[in-house]
Amino acid sequence: MSATAWAWLVLLFPLLGSITIALGFRALPQKLAGVIGTVSIGLAFACGVAALIGLLGEDPEARHHASSLWDYASVAGLDIKLGIYLDQLSLFMVLVVTGVSTLIHLYSYGYMQSDQGYHRFFSYLNFFVFSMLLLVLAGNFVLLIVGWAFVGFASYALISFWYRRETATRAGMKAFVINVVGDIGLVLAAFLIFRELGSFDYGTVFEKAPAVFSTNEWTVTAICLLLLVGAFAKSAQLPLHTWLPDAMEGPTPVSSLIHAATMVTAGVYLIARTHVLFALAPTAADISAFIGLATLLVAATIALVMTDLKRAIAYSTMSQIGYMVVGVSIGAYSAGMFHLMTHAFFKALLFMAAGSIIAAMANEQNIDRMSGFGKAMRFTSVTMLCGGLALAAFPLTSGFFSKDEILAYAGARGGMYLIFVVLGYFGAFLTAIYTFRLIFRVLQGEPCAEARELIETGHIHHAHPFNPATGEQEDTDVGFPGPEHHIAESSAPMRVAMAVLAFGALFGGLIQVPGIDNVVADWLDPVFTGPVLAHVHPSIAWDWIGLAIGGAISLLGIWAAHWLYVANPDAPRRLEARFRGLHAFLFRKWYFDEAIDVLVVRPALAVGRFSNRVFERFVVDGLVSGTEGGVRGASGVVRAVQNGFVRSYALLLIAGFAGLALYFLLSSS
């Protein structure tokens, strides 16, 4: 079979899985639904590997194929095919998405066991993977938008998965609305592309673009900025990021899958995919890079003070995606994609570990109440440490190589881009501190009540849990954890998933070590043969110097975290008291939610209220009731004739005929 046939199968299996589970939810036993869900994604991964083998047999320059099943629309110069575009970049994304998703499905198989919505969960999850693969494999902008919107919907459905929990449904709506803002940007970008280039097809667009646009022409800049709106909404970059922390209301596997490993990287993929356009609009690319930098710093500072375990990791995700955005915006495409891959490993892993601990805490996510899980949950704490080391870029772990590669590239471009190096390393320092803040506070110290219970009895009995945000009692009919609460760590599929990811987090970086091997870059480079930046390559010596600095900063950060949270446990509190204003500023997330509320939400509400009170009442209602009154008045006159008296009808008839007769008599004479 050809590589594209395998790629179609990659799309087919998750869709089939989703439909099977959705339609058979009454008939399928619970375990079988989980098995179908997991196996279908596993098969998609296998097909992805088969496509990889197919592409490996070809010449590196010829490894791009377009294939279409049928014409979606073919009218008046519009030629949209239901087609996919398979090249090194899309296949790379397919492998990352399906690979990590398979493991997360495996984890969910155990984690969601006591949830009443098990079938629904796997159906949504498979649908999400299908949408993401559609987004990645799409061969034109129309299909990209379809996948893009599907992903947004899947995210909405999964965030508000526990639909009787008010905070969850609100978070789902917020994510959906902000994603739609991004969709609008993407759609407008596609319109502009069609107006200028007359096609939606990737191949045609990227071929024609350099001939049609001159560098930094306003149209291509506008297209790129609109694409960035879409990318930033999906990838949670400033200022469209506020949905991501709220999305932590969903079940933890969802946070792991969508909001760490796959969906949020869609924006990074989009920028990399349209690199031809960004090469023509360096201004837009620079704007994107600076927003990425701002996001990575802002998110890192917020993660320093977050007390909610999952939200802290969510801000860390934003921060790491900031690195990726910087990477693909300054031209370090393969480095950005490499960081995307390693981040998928260690962030999925961190979320899984957090999920296990949160389950043990009966949905309590506040790290102030957690401590001492290192002894209580050995396996979880070891894997969490692996993920944390990779995130903090500890020497020789995966994050160490991928993050520094982006910064080394920025250094090689020199000039203005040195800002990225300096602030990027500062961000790395913050990353190490906040990562190990979480690890020390959750795993170290005197065991809390739940952890002690685990150590003493090996299991936990919980009463009905309460929503920490609102205090309302959870509805366990639709939500984990139900009354038969079990310790998530004990389940074998979850351990397998976490072990595989821990391996990837620790050793995934070894496939691309400067001067030794270069797997990812060698694979991806034929895609990014843009004429502008192809010559920029950091030398191997600089690479290693960068790595040495990065390693030192990471160790320094870990030491600082240790000093703050283990050696001097009251130091954080003293710091908090000393810099009260700063702490409040960070703790309230730089007041982004409040700012958006004042700048967007309230004006929109005011306009809505004005429309309702004035426009609706006087203009719309006036028009409607005016028309109604006119018709009613006129019909009242006509209706009086229909009085029901037969004899008056007869009189009218006779009078009418008499009148007619009189008229003809008079007019004829």
């Binding site: 229909q642 008296f645 004899r647 007869a650």
Partner: protein
């Protein structure tokens, strides 16, 4: 005999029927008055036919009689139905179709 007299008689009969319909309230009488009007028409048709000297008017008269017979069947059927439902046999009381 002059055709005028027939036409005058016809007009008188027609007017009688028309006023009967307008003034009487019993559906039975109204039906009779309708018949009167139709047959006034018939008389005029036959008279004109004789005046012109061909049979066309008489053919029309026969057709009008057929129509009149049909109309009586429907009309009497209605009246019987009204009677059997114990509704008042008074067209002024039967005014449900008022708009």
């Amino acid at each position: 005999m002059n055709t005028d007299w027939f036409v005058v008689l016809s007009a008188l009969l027609f007017s009688t029927g028309a006023f009967g319909i307008l003034l009487r309230r019993s559906p039975m009488v109204i039906l009779l008055c309708l018949e009167l009007m139709l047959n006034a028409g018939n008389l005029a048709l036959v008279a004109f036919s004789r005046m012109v000297g061909n049979g066309q008017g008489q053919v029309f008269a026969v057709i009008v009689m057929v129509v009149a017979a049909c109309e009586v069947v429907v009309g009497l059927g209605l009246i019987v139905a009204i009677f059997r439902r114990r509704l008042p046999l008074n067209v002024d009381d039967l005014r449900e179709l008022r708009g």
